[in-house]
Amino acid sequence: MAKRLDGKVALVTGGTSGIGAGTVERLASEGAQVVFTGRNEAAAKDICEATGATFIKHAVDDADGWAEVTERLTSEHGRLDIAFANAGTEHGDASVEDVTVENWNAIVGVNQTGAMLTVQHAIRMMKDNPGGATGSVVINSSMNAHRAMGNYVSYSVTKAAIVALAKSAAIHCGNQGYKIRVNAILPGVVETSMIRNIIEQSGDADATRAIYEGMAPLKRMGNVDEIAALVAYLGSDEASFISGAEIVIDGATTAGMMGV
């Protein structure tokens, strides 16, 4: 039986863990040839073996390094159909009163500039696809784009910024006549290894887990495969009329209040 993403080439940034790794697996299972980037070579090796995907060591905010990513995608695959701008960080973030300018700049560099570079290079590749300028770009924002956190100013601001990035890029592609769609997804708290580490190292794992699970009215965190399923849908031709959209996937966390 034909798979939904047969013949498509996909790029996932930050693909060595969490939502990125789950998306590499999902896209590959649906027939796509997947190239992913990141910094953790050891984790990447396991993912390549498990999924057949290809790894390119590259930090998303390394502007010069994008030339190699582009060159390898072009020479090895000859096209790009799906790009998932996923790499992100909250390392060193704090409140607006306390954050250091170094940490602010580092988070802006990865979450915002890195996402822009991903979208920019993806569109440049997709517009030259054999058969015409086609493709789907998905940006991993966060529900915190809609509901900022007081103690994570850089994360909240950058995640809001990249929703506008998706819309601007979608409009640009329309203006140029490219059949390239650009959308943002806004996940809630997802049970990634990063979150699991925070829980385990919190001193009271049960209590910390309960806090994370209690954030969503659904009373659980999202799973990586649930976010990957949304990326696969947006990447596929099923979503042919969706562009410039922001899709929340958060177990009703930002839909409203739980009631009394």
Binding site: S29, E30, G188, P217, F241, I242, I247, V248, A252
Partner: protein
Amino acid sequence: MSGLGERRLEGRVAVVSGGLRGIGLATVERFVAEGAQVVLTDLDAEDSAEAKSVLERLGNSADYLRADVTQESDWERVSNHVRDKHGKCHILVNNAGTDLTGAVESLAMEDWRRIMSINVDGVFLGTKHLVPLMAESGSEVKGGSSIINVSSIMGLVGMSEVSAYNASKGAVRMFTKGIAAEFATKQMPIRANSLHPGFVFTPLLNAGFQRWVDSGAAEKAEDLVAMVSGNTPIGRLAQPEEIASAAFFLASQDSSYMTGAEIVVDGGYTAV
């Protein structure tokens, strides 16, 4: 790993209101193609040519009930039928809707009441009468049962001389968030999301465009299609199947963590 098989709707029972034409019909056809049993409702007589020809195409996978979404007794009949025939319900698409245009000071109270009745009361009543069965059936399915309320981009942004339709579709959006928070808080296995199509080639759109032509707002419907296409980044209007594929995503277990959310399917119209 979840394969395509798991994404499909075998063994699921779905109810789709306004299922004989447009987005509703495309959704019914998609659900049937994915293996679901579908009960569709609309206003046409049960022995009408329209109903017969749709059912003929769908074979044993669908049945049709004439039901007016504004009538509580009709929804009771639909709910009883689904329970008697299938004993379960996993998917409800509150799709039936109508439109109304005109300067606000010229709208007749009865016309306002009519659009609110169809677009808002209809969504409330469908939800009210299917929720008990959907709550029972939801534990069989990853992510639970799924309610898909068809709003519109007109539930997100205002438009001149569309105020009544704007109000009705905005109500659908917020009703959906309210029930999503409620079901999740109570741990009832039902998700609820709203779908916001932009301009789609449907009988409702054709009728609306024709009214604009009749009122002198445009010379011919093709001019309106060209104007809307020009204002849409994707550069065209949607086909009903492109909305149905979003309904299918929300109906399937692939959207198991989505509730209280919105999917805008408008080719970028409201991003501009």
